[in-house]
């Protein structure tokens, strides 16, 4: 590396400036020096980023785990404890065979109350909303298909309109007790257990929530029932 490589003499000379001799030519900086500058810089930057990544990872993972546990507690209405089931080779299992990365497997959480009675299962599901993917955690009772609740984990819907799926409590309050598959309607209907009133101004986002819930129940219900039939060893 050549310090001062680009520092030239004064371009706006003062009165007593000296003109460089004609022999002083612009030096060619060798390509190797340029490569070395970037290689050393890149390596130093990489080391720094890896060090900070390693240092912050436990905190970030702890936060994600706490958030997930909080969501399970919320959608299963405060279970006393829950089992984590992993979906491996088309079936649910409590203990996935080694070799597979546990974190990468789809999961279902089966919650129980203090007396050991099963309350229901919580699963996550993600599908497009109005703008981007909406990520929900859904709690439901597998044998009847009745919903216990849902929580929006991630959404980027229109602020003030579509994001009401997360903020409008009267929308979320309709779901407990309803039986999937659900249908979105415009007027409130308390007699039909499959109907949910969509939010004014957020019809597409509301329907997305309903669609995600329906698909999740459709996908997970048979898996959970099969797991239960298998004796839940």
């Amino acid at each position: 590396m050549s310090p001062h490589a680009h520092h030239g003499p004064p371009s706006a000379p003062s009165a007593n400036a000296v003109t460089p001799p004609a022999t002083a030519k612009a030096p060619e900086v060798s390509s190797w020096k340029l490569l070395a500058t970037l290689a050393i810089g890149g390596a130093a930057a990489g080391l720094l980023v890896v060090a900070v990544y390693k240092a912050t990872l436990p905190t970030i993972e702890r936060y994600a785990a706490a958030k997930e546990a909080g969501a399970v507690r919320e959608v299963l209405k405060a279970p006393a404890r829950w089992d984590t089931l992993y979906l491996q080779k088309g079936a649910l299992t409590k203990s996935p065979t080694a070799g597979d990365d546990r974190k990468g497997l789809p999961k279902a959480y089966v919650g129980f109350d203090a007396s050991g009675k099963r309350l229901g299962a919580a699963v996550t599901a993600q599908e497009p909303g109005f703008q981007e993917e909406v990520l929900l955690m859904i709690g439901f009772e597998p044998s009847s298909g009745a919903l216990i609740g849902f929580k929006v984990l991630d959404e980027k819907e229109t602020p003030g309109l579509g994001d009401k799926i997360e903020r409008d409590t009267s929308f979320g309050a309709q779901f407990p007790g309803r039986i999937a598959p659900l249908k979105g309607v415009r007027t409130r209907n308390t007699t039909d257990p499959s109907q949910v009133q969509t939010i004014t101004g957020a019809t597409i986002s509301s329907r997305a929530v309903i669609r995600i819930i329906n698909h999740a129940v459709e996908r997970w219900q048979p898996l959970l029932l099969a797991y239960e039939k298998g004796g839940a060893q």
């Binding site: 050549s2 680009h6 520092h7 958030k67 602020p159």
Partner: protein, 239 residues
């Protein structure tokens, strides 16, 4: 950087002893004129405010200013990168060859942005989630590369940090001003606390992108108007 006359290698012998190459003061073409440190800082806050005067960093200015907490977090994250990259660029300015300087600056800036992103995710996860991709996008903020090339690469580390602080504070203040207006009118709250009460019907428009352009326009008009008033007063005083 302006074009320079033939550069001279540092290892060049004294071609004309005592005369050439010229000794101190160190001369860097296009270097900012000497100024006291407070002036280096004040420049970014008022006279050359990044958003209101230089019109740099418009993307985060529009995108994340829908609530006050996001605006402030974005401003502070940008300030962290400005100060960190300014210091590094200034310290390394004599070792970075002219030909690869832009690449090197981007490398330094990207490193600090990644650090800011990770630290924010670990310490303020909610804000980190709300800002989403806009923290990584600080890399592409012209303000960073602009200050590295126009200022930090030509002055000592102390002045570079002073300039980074000033630009960072100026950026944060502009974003805070915009997001305060937008959150107050669009949600009736400030920093999440209800200010205008339940009877206030939120102007949803203000938290949507259009509200961002609207607010920035109003802010720029206000600044230009104050500027004009001051100029007129000065002219009257001169007569």
């Amino acid at each position: 950087m302006t074009t320079t006359v033939a550069p001279v290698p540092a290892t060049a012998p004294d071609l004309i002893p005592g005369v050439w190459p010229p000794a101190a003061p160190e001369f860097v073409p296009g270097a900012p004129p000497p100024a006291p440190l407070w002036a280096d800082t004040w420049r970014g806050i008022a006279k050359e405010n990044p958003v209101l005067v230089q019109m740099l960093g418009m993307c985060p200015t529009m995108a994340v200013t829908n609530v006050l907490a996001n605006g402030i977090a974005m401003g502070v994250a940008t300030m962290f990168v400005l100060v960190g990259s300014g210091l590094c660029v200034s310290l390394l300015r004599k070792y970075i060859a002219h030909e690869v300087r832009i690449t090197s600056y981007i490398l330094i800036i990207a490193t600090f942005v990644t650090l800011a992103d990770l630290i924010l995710a670990a310490s303020f996860p909610e804000i980190s989630k709300a800002l989403g991709p806009f923290i990584p996008l600080i890399v592409a903020n012209c303000l960073l590369l602009g200050r590295a090339e126009a200022f930090a690469a030509k002055v000592g580390p102390v002045r570079a940090v002073a300039d980074g602080m000033g630009m960072g504070i100026g950026f944060t203040l502009s974003l805070a001003a915009m997001s305060a207006v937008r959150e107050l009118l669009g949600r009736g709250s400030l920093l999440g606390f209800d200010i205008l009460g339940a009877r206030w019907e939120p102007w949803v428009f203000m938290v949507l992108p259009a509200g961002g352009f609207f607010t920035l326009g109003l802010l720029l008009i206000t600044v230009a108007w104050i500027d004009e008033l001051r100029r007129k007063r000065r002219m009257v005083a001169a007569k």
